[in-house]
């Protein structure tokens, strides 16, 4: 079962990279390098430390922003899900935030917070937070009534009902919100580096494009996607570790 999904992943990666290689060899555009050229650039940049330095820059707003979004997003989502008044007050804000075109907001952020770390963290949060909040709130609202009644009938306090019943019951949907939120956070972090000031990975992308070093540009883009995938896999591990029966239960029922 596990090895089957592993081989499927390998297969889909091979198909994807093969298509990339062929598209680069045709080539579809003079600015589109082959897979192997891009990997060579990736190895070169990893070797001389460029990539490492870039990620130190890029990961800072990303990690801060994702951490803030996760903590406040889940907290706020819980609150909204538990209280209909907060739902009424806050839900519209996050629905608007989710729909807002981020690129249009960036100039406002820069005016308010300058071109430093703060603005970039904001961009990550704006991208990551809404889906985390809305998923958490929805999941909390949909906790099965009979589980809550079970808790109450066996004398659980309100805090125990939240911690031992509502949060674990909501965790699959909270985690899927986290996954979507973190993916969006990655997009936000790169977008901030492209639109505010070119630093880190965004700088590699901008700079290598300006000198027509397309393999380096694609290598940088590839590396960020790879990092996002690795991170999401890690998150999945955490979920299985925390709520083992939940994960399998929802998968097979």
């Amino acid at each position: 079962m596990k090895s089957r999904s592993f081989w499927l992943k390998i297969l889909s990666a091979t198909v994807l990279f093969g298509a990339w290689q062929i598209a680069g060899m045709i080539p579809v555009s003079y600015a589109f390098p082959t897979f192997f050229e891009s990997m060579a650039a990736l190895v070169r940049m990893a070797g001389d430390g460029t990539l490492f330095q870039a990620y130190v820059e890029t990961l800072r707003p990303l990690v801060i922003g994702v951490a803030i979004s996760a903590v406040f997003g889940i907290g706020l989502g819980l609150w909204i899900g538990l209280s209909s008044r907060f739902d009424w007050l806050f839900s519209p804000i996050f629905i608007v935030m989710q729909a807002a075109p981020l690129a249009a907001l960036i100039p406002l952020l820069v005016m308010a917070y300058g071109i430093g770390l703060t603005s970039k963290v904001f961009v990550v949060c704006i991208m990551a937070m809404p889906v985390i909040v809305l998923n958490t709130a929805g999941a909390v609202r949909n906790t099965p009534t009979s589980l809550k009644e079970m808790g109450r009938s066996f004398l659980a306090s309100d805090a125990e009902i939240i911690l031992k019943i509502i949060i674990p019951a909501a965790s699959p949907v909270i985690f899927s919100g986290l996954r979507l939120g973190i993916s969006a956070g990655f997009i936000g972090a790169i977008l901030a580096e492209l639109k505010i000031t070119p630093t880190g990975v965004g700088d590699i992308i901008t700079y290598s494009r300006s000198i027509a070093d397309y393999p380096a540009m694609y290598a940088a883009i590839f590396s960020i996607i790879l990092l996002a995938v690795l991170f999401l896999n890690l998150l999945e591990r955490l979920e299985v570790y925390l709520f083992e029966g939940n994960v399998r239960g929802y998968a097979s029922d």
């Binding site: 009979s146 009644e149 009938s153 674990p168």
Partner: protein, 268 residues
């Protein structure tokens, strides 16, 4: 108010009427303008099993949840062991129709969950849970998750959890309705054993006439529109009979028939 008429099916009642574990007095419950219960009065003798029997929608679950303290009645009062009910308490334990198990917790944690909520230390509560897991016949399944169990086994987990807190009163809301027929028969036999061996009062909701007659010391027939207890039946004669022969007993068949006669007009 419609007074329940008490019909003695077999001989005089040999238990003195005095000792009731639970008393419902003048209970009414409205959901908006739906009258789920209207001025219902009913006594539940200690150490016996009382069934609430009636067509769906007549307020059985509502009454059970009011007794559990999960719902507030619009009027009237519940007394458990002589004290008025204001909310859930350690003297009552609930067995849920849909089992209400935590899907992320294994059997051991699910069974010990009620004790966990009462602050019993881990090693102690797991020892108690082990005992009841064995009692309901699930030894060896401690580390399984609910989705790995059949419906019948899940309800055994729910039953073990309710037994683990050693409450005086066990409230069971159609506990066997979601399990298959064979398992249900086994459950019914086990329930008879439980009533005899444990010194507990059972309040058992069912919509099955046969099930009610098979397991009950007292059957309260609830009817809708307006909701009320229409009849109380005590199949006392059956309780001394061998469990294997009850279903063939003429008394059993007579009682089933007479209950069907009074219910049939409410079934469209």
């Amino acid at each position: 108010m419609v007074m329940p008429q008490i019909k003695e099916v077999v001989g005089p009642d040999d238990t003195p009427a005095a000792d009731n574990a639970v008393v419902a007095r003048g209970i009414s419950k409205n959901y908006g303008d739906v009258e789920a219960l209207k001025n219902l009065t009913l006594e539940f003798p200690r150490g016996q099993l009382t069934s609430l029997l009636g067509p769906s929608g007549c307020g059985k679950t509502t009454l059970l949840k009011i007794i559990a303290g999960l719902l507030e009645p619009s009027a009237g009062e519940i007394e458990v062991n002589g004290k008025p009910v204001t909310g859930p308490g350690p003297d009552r334990a609930f067995v849920f129709q849909d089992f209400a198990l935590l899907p992320w917790a294994n059997v051991l944690r699910n069974v010990s969950f009620a004790l966990e909520l009462r602050g019993v230390p881990k090693s102690e509560r797991e020892a108690i849970a082990e005992k009841y897991i064995g009692d309901v016949g699930l030894a060896g399944f401690e580390l399984k998750f609910p989705h790995q169990l059949s419906g019948g086994m899940r309800q055994r987990v729910g039953l073990a959890r309710a037994l683990s807190v050693d409450a005086d009163v066990l409230l069971m809301d159609e506990p066997f309705s979601a399990v298959d027929e064979q398992t249900r028969r086994k459950f019914q036999e086990d329930l008879l054993g439980l009533v005899q061996n444990e010194n507990k009062t059972f309040i058992f909701v069912t919509h099955s006439i046969e099930e009610a007659v098979y397991v009950s010391d007292q059957i309260a027939i609830l009817l809708p529109r307006p909701s009320r207890v229409s009849e109380i039946i005590r199949p006392t004669g059956l309780r001394n009979k061998d469990v294997d022969n009850i279903r063939r007993d003429p008394e059993y068949l007579d009682i089933v028939d007479s209950i069907w006669a009074s219910l049939r007009s409410y079934v469209e």
